[in-house]
């Protein structure tokens, strides 16, 4: 039987009904039409499904929809403010740090979570923080540069 869940997504109150075994990723994609988060592995190893729950970076493929009752979820769709891109989004574009783009939403969410926690990460910290977000296309160099640039801009 369906479970009723009340939550906040990207600042808006949202309610949904899901099955007990349904992942948050499936809820977002199939019930709420938020298809930014992708399924790359469904086992917590690729980061394509990254979201934040109460500010904490999480694999939505490993979280049940029913678990987010009363929590606050952040997805890639909520990163830009209207037409204004978040610095990490802008810097990914400026550095051409994407190719096929499937990993990009996860990278945006993960990098934003890093910068909120640590405004001035070292190159090594970036590398290890982002190690859970696989990208098969870019080779990561430009992704790291983008995060460094965004960090610098956000520090002002």
């Amino acid at each position: 039987m369906g479970i009723h869940v009340s939550t906040k997504i990207n600042g808006d109150d949202v309610e949904f009904v899901c099955d007990a075994e349904e992942t948050l990723l499936d809820v977002l994609r199939d019930r709420l039409n938020l298809t930014g988060a992708k399924e790359g592995c469904a086992t917590g190893d690729c980061g394509a499904c990254s979201v934040t729950i109460d500010g904490r970076l999480t694999c939505s493929c490993l979280t049940l929809g029913a678990e987010v009752e009363g929590r606050e979820i952040g997805t890639v769709e909520g990163v830009a403010k209207g037409n204004e891109l978040h610095p990490i989004q802008q810097k990914i574009l400026d550095n051409a740090a994407l190719q096929c783009g499937v990993c990009t939403p996860g990278i945006v969410v993960a990098a934003k979570a890093l910068l909120e926690k640590k405004p001035d990460p070292s190159e090594e910290e970036i590398r290890y923080w982002m190690a859970g977000n696989l990208c098969r296309c870019t080779g990561y160099d430009k992704i790291i540069r983008a995060i460094q640039d965004a960090a610098a801009e956000m520090r002002g």
């Binding site: 075994e21 994609r29 199939d30 039409n33 938020l34 298809t35 930014g36 988060a37 992708k38 399924e39 790359g40 592995c41 469904a42 086992t43 190893d45 690729c46 394509a48 997805t75 890639v76 769709e77 990163v79 830009a80 891109l85 989004q89 990914i92 574009l93 051409a96 994407l98 190719q99 096929c100 783009g101 499937v102 990993c103 990009t104 939403p105 945006v108 190159e123 970036i126 590398r127 290890y128 982002m130 190690a131 859970g132 977000n133 696989l134 990208c135 098969r136 296309c137 870019t138 080779g139 990561y140 160099d141 430009k142 992704i143 790291i144």
Partner: protein, 778 residues
């Protein structure tokens, strides 16, 4: 507003060729708004499909009881081979890839049936209720096994020139050895997927994540027993392809279309990661044997090679791939006396398929290994031996397949990179470091690439495009190429913008669609922008010519007086905005739409005699990789990479740099951490990112210095003299492998050649360390 009213005063358009135009969908990607097949809103009542797979490597199917599965909750449809109205095959060439197993299974993961239900969970649960009884047969699982039993998917092929054996016999030095080279999973982050929507009569529309819509269309039609015209394939973008989505997607598309037509409901088949890795093909692994004769300088006098690759249970594209490995047996080296024997082994494992480089990297791997070993034997810097054996520019420049290398630039690239990477100084420092560092050892290597550009199956080298101009001056562009992240759509739009001299924002790129441009070739062989760029240019030029003629008539001038300027056209002293010209032309009944077509010139090949010009031109590059190896654990890390790569006159340097970087990392991953491992029953045990390790962000070299070769210019008349970029730089990953080998050699003070097999996983590195130490002692 700038998008609506083009600026007709400026002297350069935005987004023409040679500009750093960003990926066309970049904005959508960073916002999660770019739509992949799985993101398309699902039609009402859509079915989800799960595929039942073989659990044994080789067996007769004794019996199949699917009755309980059919009765399972939510199941709408079950398909087996009996339910295919047309032909049970989705192969690209030879007709040997059944959609569903018929009477026998030939590898673990082979599809036997499909079950479609209201949700994927219900379909999966139902599939568990299938009861299949097998009568197991002996299975051939390895290359060695297949070679011993003479089990091949096609006849062995030999390419020879000069007298290899004779020259080896008389050479001063001879090395005879063998080496193993592993395969590689494409690991496109978006897995295989197809969604089919049944249409009127015999029609069906399939959204497919494929690099080859025309082939998918053909296969779907064949399975449904309908004409090709009844099937439409649409593909907007892929979440990565890397060759893995060339022949394989026909399976997903065919099954989803069969379900859609059988039920009258939309149907989606999306493989999850594990099933995808088990069910679909990978890069071919190779066993190589070699014997080489050379002189005191390391100059190769004769070389004999044996290539044995694992095709898997069927041919798929193996012949073309194994041939390409042979075409790259020389890399950049002049080998006057050479013999290559190639065996395409049939095994009871998944059928291997295309993967970026398509056999080329494997061919290069062997000759680079040979050179490296020659250098070790002569106690020389491998760089010197490489240079010694380079093709000449004007002489010593004929490949083993009798094509003259007319565009050799490797000498210049190598010299420049040796200098800019500080190779000599660093090599000396590394040797010094290794003397004093007991456990951690450094290594460095520089390797070149020469990569042949064109499909070696000559007829595939054709492409089509379709360009419309609407009366407001906006342009719609369609071509047969697939956007899979490589920036193809952006590059082709740049070409069209350049032709019409309009800002790129005026050009709308649309999804690849078999009903717009028919009979296309796969977006593969690095040929995407070369061919589709030319086809789009041809289409644009046809319309441009009409507009030029029209403008001349309109202003009573001659055609020569018509000049195309940014967003406007000048005729004599008059200027007219592009938009106005288009409107005028329309009112005067001038057609504003055209197709364009391109067939790559000059190429031909006689396979039987191994003679011809299979490639239009070559791409070149070189890389220097430095690594750090822990000789107690085998762990290793790439610490610095320097790359100089020739992309001709780059259509878009930003995109090309991204391709070079990504390809290098993928190539290095192939030869270091990416290990495919099958157990004794033929079951793939590395079928998820938890066990199959592609490079992660943490593996990124701290210091990456990647440059495009500034002097680059294609000697042939390609689109704006650019060169293909997709595959060649992957081959540069070989430098990482040799750098590791160099580090290992240091444990015996470079006395013993490590003879490393690939991939150089920590385990293999450790074993090589032990082996070399033991060899040095004895």
């Amino acid at each position: 507003m700038s998008k609506l009213i083009p600026d007709i005063t400026k002297d350069k358009i935005a987004g023409g060729v040679y500009q750093n135009k960003l990926h066309d969908s970049g904005h959508k990607h960073v916002n999660g708004q770019a739509v992949y097949v799985d993101d398309i809103p699902e039609p009402h009542g859509m079915l989800h499909i799960y595929m039942g797979m073989s659990t044994v490597a080789h067996a007769k199917i004794k019996s199949m009881d699917l009755s309980e599965m059919r009765a399972s909750e939510g199941v709408a449809c079950v398909l087996t081979v009996e339910d295919i109205p047309g032909i049970n095959d989705y192969s690209p060439v030879k007709g040997d890839d059944p959609i569903f197993a018929e009477g026998k299974v030939e590898f673990i993961g082979q599809p036997i049936f499909a079950v479609a239900a209201d949700t994927i969970d219900l379909a999966r649960a139902a599939a568990k209720k299938a009861v299949i009884e097998y009568e197991e047969l002996p299975a051939i699982l390895t290359i060695a096994d297949a070679m011993e039993k003479g089990s091949y998917v096609s006849d062995p092929h030999v390419m020879a020139r000069g007298d290899a054996d004779g020259r080896i016999a008389t050479a001063k030095h001879v090395i005879k050895n063998s080496v193993e080279l592993g395969g590689q999973e494409q690991f496109y982050l978006e897995g295989m997927i197809a969604m089919s929507i049944p249409g009127e009569d015999d029609e069906v529309k399939v959204y497919s994540s494929t690099q080859h819509p025309s082939e998918v269309q053909h296969n779907v039609a064949k399975a449904l027993a309908v004409p090709d015209h009844a099937v439409t394939i649409e593909t907007r973008r892929l979440g990565g392809g890397f060759g893995g989505k060339e022949s394989q997607p026909a399976l997903m598309a065919s099954v989803s279309a069969l379900v859609a037509k059988a039920t009258g409901r939309a149907a989606k088949l999306r493989l999850d990661r594990d099933d995808d890795m088990v069910m679909t093909g990978k890069r071919h692994d190779f066993h190589f044997e070699y014997e080489v004769g050379f002189n005191d300088d390391g100059l190769i006098e004769g070389v004999s090679m044996l290539h044995a690759c694992r095709a898997g249970y069927s041919s798929d594209l193996t012949d073309a791939i194994a041939d390409r490995a042979m075409f790259h047996c020389d890399n950049v080296y002049w080998l006057p006396n050479i013999k290559v024997e190639s065996y395409r082994c049939k095994t009871n494992t998944v059928s291997n398929t295309a993967f970026r480089g398509f056999g080329g990297p494997q061919g290069v791997f062997l000759i680079e290994r040979i050179i490296d070993e020659i250098a070790a034997k002569l106690d020389k810097d491998p760089l010197e031996v490489r240079q010694k054996n380079f093709y000449g520019v004007d002489d010593n420049n004929v490949t083993p397949y009798h094509m003259t290398v007319e565009d050799n630039v490797i000498h210049e690239i190598f010299e420049e990179l040796e200098e800019s990477s500080d190779y000599q100084k660093r090599r000396a420092e590394i040797r010094e470091f290794n003397k004093h560092s007991k456990v951690l050892k450094k290594g460095i290597a520089m390797t070149p690439v020469k990569f042949g550009i064109s499909f070696t199956t000559t007829f595939l080298n054709q492409a089509g495009a379709l360009v419309h101009i609407y009366t407001d001056g906006s342009v719609k562009l369609n071509h047969g190429g697939i956007e899979m992240g490589q920036g193809l759509f952006t590059k082709v739009a740049q070409v069209v913008a350049e032709e019409f001299q309009i800002d790129i924002e005026r050009v709308k790129i649309t999804a690849t669609d078999t009903s717009k441009v028919p009979n296309t070739s796969a977006t593969a062989a690095s040929s995407g922008s070369d061919m589709n760029g030319m086809a789009a240019q041809a289409a644009a030029r046809t319309i441009k010519q009409r507009l030029t003629d029209f403008a001349a008539t309109q202003f009573q001038a001659s055609v020569e007086d018509v000049e195309w300027l940014p967003n406007r056209v000048r005729v004599g002293s008059e200027e007219i905005a592009f938009t106005d010209l288009v409107k005028q032309a329309y009112l005067n009944r001038i057609s504003l739409s055209s197709t364009g077509y391109y067939a790559t010139p000059k190429i031909h090949y006689d396979r039987e005699n191994c003679k011809g010009r299979p490639f239009f031109y070559f791409s070149y590059g070189a890389a220097v990789t430095e690594v750090l190896v822990d000789t107690l654990t085998g762990e290793n890390k790439i610490t610095r990479v320097d790359i100089l790569h020739d992309v001709g006159k780059s259509l878009n340097p930003t995109i090309d740099l991204g391709q070079v970087e990504g390809a290098y990392v993928q190539g290095a991953g192939w030869l270091t951490t990416e290990e495919l491992w099958w157990d004794q029953t033929g079951r793939l045990r590395t079928h998820a990112p938890s066990t199959y390790k592609i490079p992660a962000c943490s593996d990124r070299a701290e210091d990456m210095r990647i440059s495009l070769w500034e002097k680059g210019k294609n000697a042939e008349e390609t689109i704006y003299r650019s060169k293909a970029v997709g595959e060649p730089p992957l081959v540069l990953g070989i430098s990482a492998f040799h750098a590791i080998s160099d580090a290992i050699a240091s444990v015996t003070d470079y006395e013993v050649y490590p003879a490393l097999d690939a991939p150089a996983t920590a385990e293999r590195v450790l074993m090589a360390v032990d082996r070399t130490k033991k060899a040095a002692k004895s």
